[in-house]
């Protein structure tokens, strides 16, 4: 029984990593622009497909795959921000609506080009390590370590560097930041690029876990938003905590045989939480990123 618990603990970590990446990307973009980007999940899908195109054979080539997907999706994010989202900053609801259309375009475009079935990506490392009765596949270890590195790097960037501080200032008060000489427009584009980078990497990680298919990201994005909300929109730390919490709750429910009720319970709990405490668990971009 103990073995099962430890194994489930490891499963929680790897699920939480993916959720955290989605949530962080969504959270950071929202914190800065107020836009709910429902196409973010589709960016992850694109990241997964880039890995499929660049490194379908897996193994060490996966490093190139990650790099390519991070860059590609970051570039796409910049383009989309400049061409579309920029015009919706004054009215973020429009940004959400634009992302709905964007999501439809990406999903159907990917399905049209690659087919609607899943495509196969070989694992980066098919080794399995067993530690204390817990089976850890090398790919999942890569995902967990990679996510931790990314999160730590992001928090350090936002807390310690000048650019990071500038970004937090924009999130706190855009006009004041502009008045202080912070290049708001450039940094907002930069944050979108950062979100795209995270999405590309996240998509690459997901490709390690399961065969990419057109609707891959669409299923993740709602959970990502929920995690981001619970953690406090705009807070990286909150997103991580929320992700771990969600993965934990899901695993407990599965072990208890209530897997069917997963969605009802987790979304219901989130609704209740947000009715009681609308700002979520953490306190938002400006305060504690």
């Amino acid at each position: 029984m103990n073995e099962q618990l430890l194994q489930q603990g490891f499963n929680v970590l790897s699920s939480a990593s993916i959720y955290a990446l989605v949530a962080i990307g969504l959270s950071v973009i929202f914190g800065l622009s107020g836009i709910i980007n429902i196409a973010y999940g589709d960016f992850m899908t694109l990241g997964a497909y880039v890995v499929f195109v660049v490194a379908p054979g897996g193994a060490i080539a996966f490093v190139w795959g990650f790099a390519a997907s991070a860059v590609a999706v970051a570039v796409l994010s910049i383009a989309v921000e400049r061409a579309l989202f920029r015009f919706t900053i004054i009215r973020p609801v429009n940004g959400f609506l634009v992302s709905l259309g964007l999501s439809q375009i990406i999903e159907n475009g990917v399905a049209w080009h690659f087919g609607q079935d899943s495509v196969t990506v070989a694992p980066a490392d098919s080794a399995n390590w067993t530690l204390g009765g817990v089976v850890m596949s090398a790919d999942r270890v890569i995902i967990i370590l990679g996510t931790i590195a990314l999160v730590v790097g992001l928090i350090l960037f936002l807390d310690r560097t000048q650019t990071g501080t500038a970004i937090r200032a924009i999130a706190a008060d855009r006009e004041a930041a502009a008045l202080m000489g912070i290049p708001v427009t450039r940094l907002v584009t930069g944050v979108f690029a950062l979100g795209g980078l995270i999405a590309g990497l996240g998509g690459g990680f997901v490709a390690l876990l399961q065969p990419p298919y057109p609707l891959l990201g669409a299923e993740l994005v709602l959970k990502g938003f929920v995690v981001a909300l619970v953690g406090g929109l705009g807070s990286v730390r909150g997103a991580v905590i929320g992700a771990v919490l969600l993965a934990f709750i899901e695993t407990v429910l599965v072990t208890a045989g209530l897997a069917g009720w997963l969605d009802v319970i987790e979304f219901g709990a989130v609704i209740l939480l947000l009715i009681i405490r609308p700002q979520g668990l953490a306190r938002g971009l400006a305060h504690s990123m």
Binding site: M1, G115, T120, V135, Q210, E219, G260
Partner: protein
């Protein structure tokens, strides 16, 4: 907060607008008449729409998912239907009262869209007066049935959602053996392949097929002396099955019985994750197939019920099956190899069955007579010997095993009467 914007009052102008648009719509409707079926891939498609048995063709309605979420199966299904029609026409067509008819497929594309399915059904059954309908995957079957039943059109269904309605349907032919029969055959075949297995854990999805299948499987297991030690039902949007597999592993099953294959993308994911977790070293899949393209893991033996009753690989592959494949790919418009080619095996044989029934009944328009003829036939097709009773078809089931990604290891056919035949191995 909404920015204040200048708003216009609604005046009589939109009245004119509406009239213009309506006229355009009407013009488009009448010009495309009854043949607007969206994009249809090549091959035999809807010819004249003037009713069921006009001229020298008999129209068979096909509600195809040529786009949308179900397109990957839908297109394969459609291709198999086209192959079935081609086969009938190639082997002499249908002769009724001395007149020879060819079959033609009347295709309507529902785009996997729920708003289009009822419209397609109406078009095929009511407008085009097709007496025989194929197609309608998954949740669309009952919608089709809702229109074929009152209009006395025979619906050749493959889905479990409609199978559950057989007792209240008069004009539905289930082209798939009943769930109870299939479950029993699968379990028996499985026992034959793995005589030492005693315990099973079930893993499925929250869809109609699995919901019905789990109940039938539990009965079959009990009947055959196997113990079900655990079940897990994953939500449809699950992508990570490791928590499910770990939970099942804790019950120490000999076999994981996998019902997930409903979504092509979830089965390889589950297999891969089971590969690392070794929840069980044997995975039996009740609706998949042994495919070399699936990711497989050393040490995992994978066994599947596959290809309905058809032997499609190895030295025992029948000439009929080879002919099916040749026709299927020969029609063009589908990728080669098609991983879903076996999906069409559930309907391919029913075109010649329908042709023979029409000949025997002497009519292509009287559904009751044709149904009676269908129920009296025995047909040896790609799926083996098929008999139909009370509109429910019965035929054997072929199972294959795959170890370390090596397909064609051993195949069995399990027959409805409980006997099994080893079809043999091939390297």
């Amino acid at each position: 907060m909404k920015a204040a914007s200048v708003r216009r009052t609604l005046t009589r102008r939109p009245v004119a607008l509406f009239a213009v648009l309506a006229t355009l719509a009407l013009a488009a409707c009448s010009s495309s008449g009854g043949s607007s079926s969206g994009a249809s891939s090549g091959g035999a498609s809807g010819g004249s729409s003037a009713g069921a048995a006009s001229g020298k063709t008999i129209e068979i309605g096909m509600d195809a998912e040529q786009g949308g979420a179900l397109a990957s199966f839908g297109l394969s299904f459609l291709q198999a239907a086209k192959a079935g029609v081609a086969y009938v026409n190639k082997t002499g067509g249908v002769t009724i009262n001395g007149t020879k008819y060819n079959l033609a497929l009347d295709i309507c594309n529902d785009n996997s869209d729920q708003t289009q399915v009822a419209a397609c059904a109406t078009k095929l059954v009511v407008t085009n007066q097709d007496k025989f309908i194929f197609g309608g995957l998954a949740d669309f079957g009952p919608i089709l049935r809702g229109i074929t039943e009152p209009n006395h059109a025979i619906y050749f269904s493959t889905g479990s959602a409609v199978a559950a309605l057989m007792s209240s349907s008069h004009y539905v032919v289930n082209t798939v053996p009943s769930l109870a029969a299939r479950s029993l055959m699968s379990v028996r075949g499985f026992k034959k392949a793995f005589p030492n297995a005693k315990t099973v854990a079930l893993l499925g999805e929250q869809d109609a097929t699995d919901q019905a299948a789990f109940a039938a499987l539990q009965t079959a297991f009990k009947q055959e002396g196997l113990t079900v030690v655990g079940t897990q039902i994953a939500p449809l949007d699950a992508t990570d099955y490791s928590s499910f597999l770990t939970a099942l592993k804790a019950k120490h099953p000999d076999v994981i019985w996998n019902e997930l294959a409903a979504a092509v993308n979830s089965e390889p994911a589950m297999l891969g994750q089971n590969g690392s977790l070794h929840a069980a070293t044997v995975v039996f899949n009740n609706s998949g197939s042994c495919q070399a393209s699936y990711p497989h893991t050393p040490g995992i033996t994978y066994m599947a019920e596959t290809n309905a009753g058809a032997i499609t690989a190895g030295p025992n592959e029948t000439a009929q099956t080879k002919d099916y494949e040749a026709t299927y790919y020969g029609l063009g418009g589908i990728k080669n190899p098609d991983p879903n080619i076996s999906a069409g095996l559930y309907i391919y044989d029913f075109f010649p069955i329908l042709a023979q029934a029409m000949e025997k009944a002497g009519t292509a328009t009287d559904a009751t007579k044709v149904l009676a003829a269908i129920n009296s036939l025995s047909y040896k097709g790609v799926d083996g010997t098929i008999t139909i009773q009370n509109n429910q078809s019965t035929y054997g089931q072929v199972l294959c095993t795959m170890t370390d990604g090596n397909t064609g290891n051993s195949q069995f056919e399990v027959f409805p009467d409980g006997t099994t035949t080893s079809i043999g191995t091939s390297s």
